[in-house]
Amino acid sequence: MITELLITLAKILFIIGVTVGFFAPILTWVERKQSAIMQDRIGANRADILGFTALGLFHAIADALKMFTKEDFIPEGANKILHTLSPIIAVIPAILTFAVVPFGGVYNLFGREVNLVISDLDVGLLFVFAIASIATYGYVIAGWSSNNNWSLLGSMRTASQMISYEVTMGLTIIGVLMVYGSMRLTEIGAIQEDFSRWGIFLQPLGFLMFLTAAIAENKRIPFDNPEAESEIVAGYFTEYSGLKFGMFFMSEFIEMVTISAIVTILFFGAWHIPFLTTATLLSWFEILGTTGANLLVMLIHVGVFFAKVIFFIWMQMTIRWTLPRFRYDQIMKLGWKILLPLSLTNVLVTGIVILMLH
């Protein structure tokens, strides 16, 4: 009992450490540096400690320090409680999704089966979806409670955009469900040990639509209408400063990691290397004994998983710095007139193919 609890605690600490401690601060740096390199610039490199700039990595620390020390401003006429609460509501779902995200398979360590997922929920996929739908509130309440017209406009755009794209996201998830016959994310990951059963081959259209809907849910360019700087100042977080603004910022980056993780698990073979099954890997390291071999394979799998996650983060960054913003009516048209019929067709075709194969 105690060991179980300790293992779970270790997994939780690992996930929080990786997302909040590593990805969120490093991504602020990556976003600046990658955009700079893509646009033939140099990018952030001025923050230094004793003359060492470390490629501008200290900007992450400088950003955090700045956000901690800035004035926490609540505008006049704003709803104080909700204004304070909404960044928390925004950031918690972003981290919470990782409760069901497996970052490795099942390993036999010290005579104990260790499953590298915090909570192996039998409706894991739907849990992700539910949490994504809850995340809307943080942004909507933020805009409403600021007592600012731009913020209100931003939160209205957020609400309508997120509802529209949730439909597509749900329907693509149904396609994945039909293919794998399970809602358990660990099971979906385990099935993809076989390279020919990777989600990208079974649901290519589903992958594209899921990525589109997920980026729209995360409100990043090309779907950043809720915070369109050139139209409505900064959208829902116009009136936020200091740490609260930082939390919105952080939730965006953590959500990016979440999207990458979910895409990896659903479509890109989770923690598996193509053509290399876990059994093959284990047989290679047989000399190290059961625990040693398992430990090594576990490390390799976790490394592969996060490498894939980093690749998708890179891809999202590239999309963000390549495409221009859609107009508002174009977003709605894409969501309702193109993606929704396409995803319905996808479900239909998947169903027909599955029926024919059985």
Partner: protein, 189 residues
């Protein structure tokens, strides 16, 4: 230069399906990304630098401005060590912002002395609008727009430059002098 944007472009089926065009755009941006990211490797191996970055580290590195650039106006100091200015006051009149103040000094009749020179010549950079009218008005090639634009100060009084601060040897202004001769000859005043 009127430029009309044709908003009724008929896109082909290929372009309207978004994905290939998005991939094309991403190919271009990621090509730049990888070229710049790994471009320094051949540089270290002793070959030509492949990076395309042309950012300049400003306070440490400076860009040579083109001669047409209008920085702060300065007075030319000719080869004899005298200001070329004859204190005619044309620049004072031409100045739309009234930032030039001249006190002429006059020849008292002695031989081997220059005819006229400015006793005082002040330009208030806090008022100056860098229009270049003084340079255009000057008949003696005495006042020029330099390429120096770093004139921010914490005190407004210090922005008022005196003659001694304004004087710059004519050799340093060669490019600008050549440029003004070419330009003003073209305009046929």
């Amino acid at each position: 230069m009127a430029y009309y944007v044709n908003r009724n472009v008929k896109m082909t089926w290929w372009e309207r399906s978004y994905i290939p065009e998005i991939l094309r755009g991403m190919y271009i941006t990621s090509r730049h990304f990888f070229l710049n990211l790994f471009g320094f490797i051949p540089f270290f191996l002793g070959r030509k630098k492949e990076r395309e970055i042309f950012t300049v580290y400003y306070p440490e590195e400076m860009v040579k401005y083109p001669p047409a650039y209008r920085g702060r106006p300065v007075l030319a100091l000719n080869e004899n060590g005298h200001p070329a200015c004859v204190a005619c006051g044309l620049c004072e009149i031409a100045c739309p912002a009234y930032c030039i103040h001249i006190d002429p000094g006059c020849n008292s009749g002695k031989q081997n002395e220059i005819e006229r020179w400015p006793e005082k010549f002040d330009i208030d950079y806090a008022v100056c609008i860098f229009c270049g009218n003084c340079e255009e008005a000057c008949p003696e090639e005495a006042i020029f727009m330099s390429d120096d634009c770093e004139i921010s100060m914490l005190d407004r009084k210090k922005m008022r430059y005196t003659k001694e601060q304004l004087l710059v040897p004519v050799a340093e202004l060669k490019d600008r002098i050549e440029f003004t001769r070419k330009m003003y000859a073209k305009w046929n005043y």
